[in-house]
Point group: C2
Chain length 169, copies 2
Amino acid sequence: MERKLLLLGLLRRQEMHGYQLYEFIERDLAICTDLKKPTAYYLLDKMAQDGWIGEEQVQEGNRPPRKVYHLTDTGEIVFQELLRANLSSYQPVRFSGDSGLAFLDELPAADASACLYQRRQAISDELLAAQSIPEHGGSAQLALRHQVHHLESELVWIDEVLARLEGKS
Amino acid sequence: MERKLLLLGLLRRQEMHGYQLYEFIERDLAICTDLKKPTAYYLLDKMAQDGWIGEEQVQEGNRPPRKVYHLTDTGEIVFQELLRANLSSYQPVRFSGDSGLAFLDELPAADASACLYQRRQAISDELLAAQSIPEHGGSAQLALRHQVHHLESELVWIDEVLARLEGKS
DNA sequence: TTTTCCATGTAACTCGTTACATGATTTC
DNA sequence: GAAATCATGTAACGAGTTACATGGAAAA
């Protein structure tokens, strides 16, 4: 549902066509979320059928025709509902990397350290990428800041685990 | 793949049947991961077909017969591979709640605060639940500790967002 | 001139879920 | 005697992905 919320929120600011929405999300919001092309087109189609958004065929010269979407009155109501529901709730997060952690002691300490250093590097890379994205202002930045906050917290955590390993070897 | 790793790791310690594995994960590891019954049975079946684990029918009196699984030599190799791959990599996390955050300013500050306080409560509840689980020792606890660490970090974050809102109202 | 980009979409697949079915056994 | 628990499974569905198809336009 949060992808629909995202699309509605973006269309609320200005009407856009599918490819435009896809590109914006994959380029500017890649660190916080993602949305593949077929998913984008499918959701827009669905929401158009449900009357949340309206679509307009726009032909420019001989280029491929674009479907430009805009929020309807129904869409605005749904947006409000989805937004409030989203902000009020907390979806617990599962870390796929925790299955590995649970069996950390099954590996020789040196191997475990080597693996975790690689993981640390990956987190660090992700953090640098997130930090290098320029601020745009407004609440749209909150998602990005949250991701940065989280990645910093992950570095603290993995360093704790590494320290625990060093103590054992 | 991390669910297979989890099952392999548990079976490596002692042979178990499907229901047993399902119960252990849903009861003792609920905060860090989950595994529904059909998923458990499906994965065990799959891994048995692939030769990662062996199955033994055990009939006790007139009770429903149980399939007891144990790790094979192939399974041990796969476990090692999966474990190292898991520990070496980092799967970036998407927060479904961030779509809402991005549109926080579209709501009156008072409404936004009210919603976020509810979310804060949900995180706080989750944290208390996680903290109240007794420690078992060994690296199996790392997943739980990670979740606690994360939830604490989430509380810090949401308090920052709330402070930002108060500054605006 | 071949590759990349724009713009849309379909088909098949993966992973996991919910809901349901079965049947014995212990508990209330 | 009814309900919950043990133990296994099937069927249908949902959300999202990858891979592929199409066809013009811009760029290398």
